[in-house]
């Protein structure tokens, strides 16, 4: 518990602690995980806010994300440039939202953005089709995919506009208590 680290100033650590769901030790541990992805790119000293971005390929090769079918979408949603290249802030943000202590609404917001493949603030049929194909590794037939998407929109669309808005999604999440425990990555 000593303050011997020189990576961050005390104010930086306090700011991270207040803005994410991590404690000091966890933030440092995450920093070292981030650095391990590319030790030559990431400096050990972050006190002067260096502008370092790790490319998506490195992020996607982390053991926690390597086999996740949604890893690209996750990286895109949390990255500043929208392409999956993440700074340390984005990295911390991503694991903070995916941690155990993040509340349901926050997780629902980001899950919605992850499943919204075309970034139009709605989960439309094509988004659902892509989600299904990623979930089942293209094992379902086209007919089945179509039927499932129709039924999903039937069930979850409350204001009858043919696609799921954020409110529809949040309403459905309220009915699925499993979401809190499954939308969680241990790091």
């Amino acid at each position: 518990m000593g303050n011997k680290q020189t990576t961050f100033t005390a104010q930086q650590l306090d700011a991270y602690q207040d803005c994410t769901y991590f404690t000091r030790k966890e933030i440092l541990r995450l920093f070292y995980r981030y650095r391990d992805l590319a030790p030559q790119l990431v400096p050990l000293d972050y006190t002067n806010h260096p502008d370092v971005t790790l490319p998506y390929e490195l992020i996607g090769s982390m053991p926690e994300l390597k086999d996740n079918p949604f890893r690209q979408r996750i990286a895109e949603v949390f990255s500043e440039d929208g392409q999956g290249n993440m700074t340390l802030d984005d990295f911390l943000d991503m694991f903070s939202v995916l941690s155990e202590m993040a509340p349901r609404d926050l997780k629902a917001y980001y899950a919605f953005k992850i499943y919204d493949f075309n970034n139009d603030d709605f989960i439309c049929k094509s988004d659902l089709e892509k989600t299904l194909n990623k979930l089942t590794r293209n094992e379902l037939t086209e007919d089945e995919v179509r039927m499932v998407c129709e039924k999903v929109i039937d069930e979850a669309d409350l204001d009858n506009d043919g696609r799921l808005s954020l409110e529809d999604f949040q309403h459905m999440i309220v009915q699925a208590p499993e979401f809190l425990s499954t939308f969680h990555i241990r790091i």
Partner: protein, 826 residues
Amino acid sequence: MARNVNFDPHLMEAGMESPVDEEDVHHSFNQIIAENSQSVAPSEAFELQQLQWELTEEVEDSVHPLPGQGHEPREEQQDQRDFGWGGDETDPLIANKWSSATLRILSSMPSRTIGRNRGAIISQYYNRTMQLRRRRQSRPSIKDLSRSARPSIRGYGNEEDTTDAEARKREHLVNNLQNLSVSDRVRMLREMPLSVAEKSNLRGLALQKERQTQASGQMHCCSQLKYYTIIAARQGWYSWLSFLHSLQLWQVPLKRVSGRFGTGVLSYFVFIKTLLLFNVFLFLVTGAFLVLPQALFPPDPSADKRSFYGLELLTGAGYFTDSVMYYGYYANYTLQKSCRVDGGHHNTSLTNGTMRGCISNHHHYNMPLAYFFTIGVAFFITCIILVYSMSKSFGRSFRIDKSHSVLAMKVLCSWDFKVVKETSVKIMSENICTQLKELLAEVSHKDDTKTAGQKLWRLMVHALAWAICIGSTTASVVSIFYFSDNMHRNLKERFHEDPLLKEASMLALPVLVSFINLLLPGLFNLSAWMEDYESPSVRTYVSISRNLMLKVSILGVLCYHWLGRVAADSGLTCWESYVGQELYRFLIMEFIFTLLDTLFGELLWRLFSERVLRRRRRPVFDIARNVLELIYGQTLAWLGVLFTPLLPAVQILKLLLLFYIKKSSVMMNCQAPRKPYRVSQMTTIFITLLCFPSFVGASVCVTYTMWSIKPSSSCGPFRELKTMFQAGKRWVEKLEEGNQNLSVLANAYSYLVEHPFFLFLGAGIFLIVIYFHSQVVDGQRKIISLLQEQIENEGEDKKFLISRLQSIHEQRRGPNRRQRRQDSSC
């Protein structure tokens, strides 16, 4: 698909947008429209739509069809279809095209931009912080309670989403943040769906403002003090959390298990961790207040000091009988240290409450009182912790509505992000695929009714299965009853036998009980397999209830045996120590049989099925059964704390070993579960089972023992008393003698605790409170259905307004266009 327009370049561009970029709203809208127009079923409206596209190509306004699904509007709202293309069955929204003015309005509607527009997020959180501030200070006025993204007409001013408005909102938000308390501010900051960089920015601004107000002396000195204490408390809390995390109890094994098997199997290991924490707490309390003082002041050693044989580890008797482990060792006097009378020696003096000479006033320790209160307080605190975790878990998993969006939940909420291993991910994909197919089949074949004969057959099968289960449970309970009776009688008679053999024979009852606990759940599984339930959750509940019934009846008959028979007349000098030893034996035997079960059930089964049967299917880890075993073991531990203060330590060792053994076994031998497993619900059920039959049963037994059973007269801290409870009463009486003012307290105490009227009153009030809360939940359910209707109506309103707006716009443009067409055709 009739038309397969390739809009890939647009898609690529749209994917590259940063979520914060507002100007690209129109482009992405264009692209959605293009996508959705692909999926619309070809119909008359579609042809007309194409015609319009061609006709209006030369018009300078860019025109786009509004995306909409083929969703049938309600039959009651016929009037809204008048704005469609006359006599069309499909939704008017599909067939229409919208001008760019309409589109601009549509795309800047708050409900469409809440997901991406940073300004919208900031204004939403401004509202929330405003609410929070008002709530902390006084009652909020109703007109300020506008929290939804859809503004009502009243609140809809002329707010354009310019950057000025955003900067203003930001200013307000920072202001609000600064005025909140520290914990509220941190909570708000963490919950905001903005990036960490922006959140630190907002936080920095808020802190800056706070420092400014502090520096300018505007803050009152008391609130400054409060501010500093809160900051110090927060730092302390964070350091404590850091320390807890740095202990990292089992973090790596848990991560490996969850990476391979998912959240379901993980919940078993997390449950072990929870139980471990409970036992550590119990151990610390009993260790500090009972074991340590008594160990420092040991009583006179008894006559027959037996040597250590090794059998003691199993039976708990023999060498351990007269040790600090059991009730019988504990003194019934006040432990004291005498002052130096003879050359600096500290002698322990045994007094019966009378003072001798110059005995110092510190180093008093009233053992009976300490024993009584320690056990009472430990149980009370455990009860509070259990009820708190049960209510938290219940709150997380409770669903007011009966869910009808099963398929949507399966598609969007069922991917377990914790699973990391490649093969497990593949298995999970296959599982989800299978479950989706099953759900689809279920949904499309809902009207699959059975004939009366089939129903009768199923009923008979169910009845048979239940008859088997209940019959086997009753048979085992009766056999335990008679066997224990036999043992009890033998205990009184067999004094001449070899003491080692006698000790070993005491293991017979625990072995029998553990054996029954091992076999009967297998029988229940067989009958469940015979019954062939359709829904896996029903099967799980039935299996849990059967196992629970078995364990509750076994524990019931055992408690009767110990508290009814052994306590009453056993010819033993110290029945409490004997009961403590029995519980120790039961705990050890249960552990040994669990090990055997792991060995045979998992390892050998896997070897057998791989080598002999040549199948690749490994055994599945039965989470429910294993958790019930843990709960059973914990009940024994709680029952035994009164008689064996060191039993929590034994339980801790047992849980530690169990964790590692089960973990290695699962990793080596088992495969990921194939059936869907509802983790939150199951965890809530298990915590409730831990609280309700397990802890409540144990505390009822302990309370009964303390209240009505006569303690043995030659051992233990309650030797001369009628009941253990009297230790407390005596102390209160002594206090009363010393100080008359406390008589009121003593009278109140005796009234409250001993007269049943107050207990009934308390229970009645409790029941009334529960009733009111259930009524509130019912009312909320009704409100939810009303709100759902309201949302649907709002959706219809929106469609109506959009089409009306468009038709007015068309009317205004209509004459101009007609004229232009006439000009061009001439």
